[in-house]
């Protein structure tokens, strides 16, 4: 007997278990399969900083959330429709996110007294009367997986490692997902170890078949294809998008790419990704520390490469002095900060937007730099290209901000045709002879940019450095008027970038009761919350900043057109400080510092309150 199939427009599912339970892999598989089925998808992996925190404890719980939908979505979803928990610790730390009436799928085998103790629970949480609000499905996943793989003669330890595939199989049945993409994945990943491949395949199918045979009484769900813009898509994570964007930007400007980096969460995946693509002229240098990483980057920029460094807040702090040098040398490079929870070591695997002021101002002296922030995983690719375009046109390091949520989240990316991307024009001055007038390394063009003269070019030999320099020759100058002139012109150059970047667009009315002003990774939650408010008839508009230094030319005008401005941020009001001091306007803030992104519902509620 087949279950009834219910058509729904979207579903939010979270897998939660021990760090060693393979929850990230399980979630990634469901994401890819759903994307291949034509859904729009958005993900939120959430894992502890420890690689293997003590087993069974609350600290060791790792989760992966995915929303898939038949319509455009911008977030991984607020409340869960289905929560899969592999142990009591996972249940107790995640249950509050499950909506009333939602499905709770439990690995019953781990709901035993020893596991309750590890999770610091006095009794079986499933006995709590509050559980009545959920539809609980208990499955002996460990036992059923062992039985399914029995004939392979694996040790219990190996057999038990397959139980995430069992859970995956059950969810695939529940949401009518095709097994084939994950079967292909198993073959590709474990092909060299036939036993493991066979066991995972059996576990996956066992989970699926278990649903079909034993749970036929409940209905399953179907999420139809989303109506995405025509094109070819693939799922992309933010860090991969930045890495590919940098490769593309280098090629578009006829450059090789140099990355100087030091491993740090959550930025390391950019180093890993770029290290795989040496065939595109990519050189990656794993430096001895954050300082050497940025210094080698400046060295490579001097040498004429597209040079980038990648890090997170603590690393950016260490790079501060060198960034000031990069600024005064006026060489193009990208400084990529994948923000994480701060201050200090903070919350390495959690997301936050609290490095904005650090990146804007965290250098000694008058040291302005442009700053661009990516808004979503799929936006990272274009962000890298736009940043490099500014860097070479205005001869300056560009700060590029992403965050842990964007870095590890995934969404469909419409694959561009590389040949249709606009070239990035870079010019280097040519050789000079003794008869030519002397080369002036700091003479500026109409954009106030100095020439990018490459070592190896005859007649252009020049010296650059961190000391203040004469405004044309670049020679060391302690002249007071020259110093003030240089400080002002370096600022003016950054301000001038506003002529080059697009004006800010307002989503909704150009004026009205409330403007939601956002930046970075809060884009999705703000967009969705604003659309909910508008669906309820409220006059709310939304503008999302891509460049924060400099601001788009029309930002001041837009701000003046609204009765109220609200700036939601995953910090204590950093953009809010800049906006209020720059434009002399009042702006409200919505602040969150929980290591997690905004939910759509909390924003919607607060927007509504502000309108009153």
């Amino acid at each position: 007997m087949a279950s009834t199939v219910e058509n729904i427009s979207r579903a939010t599912i979270r897998f939660a278990g021990d760090s060693g339970d393979g929850m990230q892999l399980t979630g990634t598989q469901l994401t890819n399969t759903s994307a291949l089925a034509g859904n729009d998808v958005a993900t939120f992996p959430d894992f502890p900083a420890e690689i293997r925190a003590p087993r069974g404890t609350r600290a060791g719980v790792s989760g992966f959330q995915v929303q898939f939908a038949s319509e455009d979505i911008f977030t991984p979803g607020d409340q869960l429709d289905t929560l899969v928990v592999m142990n009591p610790a996972a249940l107790i730390t995640n249950i509050s996110d499950l909506r009333p009436g939602g499905l709770l799928i439990v690995n019953e085998d781990s709901f035993v007294s020893k596991e309750f103790r590890l999770a610091k629970l006095e009794s079986d949480p499933l006995d709590d009367p509050d559980m009545d609000q959920y539809r609980v499905i208990k499955i002996k996943m460990t036992l059923l997986t062992r039985t399914a793989v029995e004939e392979l003669g694996l040790t219990t330890k190996f057999a038990d490692r397959c139980k995430n595939f069992f859970a995956m199989g059950f969810v695939y049945w529940l949401y009518n997902r095709d097994l084939q993409p994950s079967l292909d994945f198993i073959n590709a990943k474990f092909g060299g170890k036939p036993d493991i491949a066979a066991a995972n395949e059996k576990a996956l199918k066992a989970g699926y078949n278990y649903g079909e045979t034993t749970e036929a009484a409940i209905s399953t769900y179907q999420v139809e294809k989303a109506k995405l813009e025509p094109g070819t898509y693939k799922n992309i994570m933010g860090n991969q998008g930045l890495a590919w964007g940098c490769i593309a930007a280098a090629k578009l400007s006829g450059k090789d790419l140099f990355l100087g980096s030091y491993p740090i969460t959550p930025a390391s995946d950019i180093l890993h990704e770029l290290s795989k693509h040496k065939n595109f002229g990519v050189r990656t240098f794993q430096a001895e520390d954050e300082i050497a990483a940025v210094c080698s980057t400046i060295g490579a920029a001097f040498g004429g490469h597209m040079a980038i460094t990648t890090s997170s807040g603590p690393g950016i702090a260490l790079k501060g002095e060198a960034l000031g040098l990069g600024m005064i040398l006026e060489l193009p490079m990208l400084i990529i900060n994948i923000q994480r929870g701060g201050p200090s070591t903070g919350l390495p695997t959690k997301t936050e937007q609290s490095d904005l002021l650090q990146c804007m101002y965290g250098r000694n002296g008058e040291s302005p730099l442009p700053l661009i922030a990516a808004r979503s995983p799929a936006d990272c690719f274009q962000t890298a290209i736009d940043a490099w375009r500014v860097a070479v046109k205005f001869m300056c390091p560009v700060m590029v901000l992403s965050d842990g949520y964007i870095a590890n989240g995934a969404e469909p990316w419409k694959i561009p045709d590389y040949d249709a991307l606009e070239e990035i024009v870079v010019e280097h001055p040519g050789e000079r002879s003794e008869e030519d007038p002397p080369f002036l390394p700091y003479k500026r063009d109409e954009n106030l940019s100095r020439p990018w003269a490459l070592p190896g070019t005859k007649g252009l030999e020049h010296r650059i450095g961190g000391l203040e320099k004469d405004h044309e020759t670049g020679n060391v100058s302690y002249d007071p008027d020259n110093h003030e002139f240089m400080c002002k012109i370096r600022q003016e150059k950054i301000d001038k970038i506003a002529d080059f970047i697009p004006e800010l667009e307002v989503d909704g009315e150009d004026s009205g009761d409330l403007l939601v002003l956002s930046w970075g990774g809060t884009y999705g939650a703000c967009t969705t919350a604003v659309s909910h408010c508008r669906a309820d008839g409220l006059n709310v508009s939304h503008a999302h900043l891509r460049f924060i230094s400099p601001f788009p030319r029309n930002l001041g005008t837009i701000l003046g057109n609204f009765k109220k401005i609200v700036i939601p941020e995953l910090n204590l009001g950093q953009l809010q400080k800049i906006i209020t001091s720059t434009y002399g306007v009042n702006a409200e803030g919505i602040h969150k510092l929980k290591g997690r992104p905004f939910t759509v519902s909390e924003l919607t509620e607060q927007f509504k309150e502000l309108i009153g």
Partner: protein
């Protein structure tokens, strides 16, 4: 082609900037010998870059008519590593001092050397902080009285060459600012070496630490206190060339030639020894127990970081000659929406 390339003289390597070191500073001599070494070598000016950190010595690039970068304190080896990795065609020099290289920049020095990046590092050792006006440095002797150590410094000094040996440097040498001929030939050897060349130069700061190397430079004492080492030659020193270094077990000892001790009994220098043991032993010979060695301690061939980095890129490109970004973008699972 029979076009003759113009021959550059030492003066052609000087920039138009006024040199602003204190009159009498040992840096002047090093600058002069560097220009001479480069002119002798005949490498194009535009293909040469000097990278420095912070300190008196680090003003050096401003005075050279090559490409140059006066960077930040202690980090010059990291800038040089990036530049050389991107541009293996350039000859890259790092100019640094004892404070710059061994204090704030110790980490980068160590890693540049152990990677064997093809750069030449010249450490001007004056055993003092000059630019900040006279604090003790990592090479100052214990008990040094300075502005920051009125009761004497407490730290054990570093021996720069021992550190270089510890990082398995492939080229290690020492010279003296006032020994012009020896210095210019040492710098030339450093330039010729493939891989990291590390050269310590005893340099006098006549303002804050005058006479720090007097024992090694004074006409009346230098022959007793300095031993010039040469590959394949026995270690002989002294005004009368009558003293030598002999090995007693693992330890060196000073002996007088004659009375049954012949040259063949002495320690013979071997700069090409694959193991750095001898170079280390030589680096540990310090005053007043031993004469201090100058010359090339070590010069061996070993894989070079930037060569290998660029070889990996070339190998990847050879393996994937037709790789396009479109094929990268479309790799893995994709789906089409009509």
């Amino acid at each position: 082609m029979s076009t003759e390339l113009p021959v550059l003289r030492p003066a052609d390597f000087g920039s138009d900037q006024d040199v602003r070191w204190c009159p009498g500073c040992g840096d002047y001599s090093i600058l002069a010998q560097m220009k001479k070494a480069l002119a002798t070598q005949g490498f194009p000016r535009e293909k040469t870059a000097f990278i420095s950190g912070i300190g008196c010595s680090s003003r050096f690039p401003y005075y050279m008519a090559t490409y140059g970068m006066h960077s930040i304190h202690g980090r010059a080896p990291a800038f040089a590593t990036g530049l050389k990795s991107a541009r293996p065609d350039l000859q890259v020099w790092v100019i640094t001092g004892d404070g710059d290289a061994l204090s704030i920049g110790g980490n980068h020095l160590m890693h540049a050397i152990r990677r064997n990046v093809n750069i030449n590092i010249v450490l001007f050792n004056n055993r003092i902080y000059g630019l900040t006006k006279g604090q003790y440095s990592p090479t100052s002797e214990i008990g040094k009285i300075t502005k920051s150590t009125p009761m004497g410094s407490l730290d054990n000094p570093l021996t720069p060459l021992s550190l270089a040996v510890g990082c398995n440097a492939t080229f290690i040498a020492r010279s003296i600012d006032t020994n012009a001929k020896h210095l210019s030939s040492t710098l030339q050897r450093a330039a010729e070496h493939q891989g990291t060349s590390f050269v310590e130069v005893y340099q006098n700061c006549n303002i804050f630490n005058d006479g720090a190397w007097k024992y090694a430079t004074d006409r009346t004492t230098r022959q007793e206190n300095v031993i010039e080492i040469e590959h394949g030659k026995p270690l002989i020193f002294g005004a009368e060339s009558n003293k030598g270094i002999r090995l007693n077990g693992l330890n060196p000892e000073v002996v007088e030639l004659g009375n049954g001790i012949a040259e063949d009994d002495l320690l013979f220098h071997d700069e090409q020894s694959p193991e750095p043991t001898l170079a280390y032993l030589l680096s540990r010979m310090r005053q007043p127990e031993f004469p201090e060695a100058i010359g090339v301690f070590r010069d061996i061939d070993a894989p070079i970081y930037d060569d290998q980095l660029n070889s990996q890129v070339a190998a990847a490109q050879e393996k994937n000659p037709d790789a396009s970004l479109n094929s990268l973008f479309n790799s893995g699972n994709t789906w089409t929406v009509d």
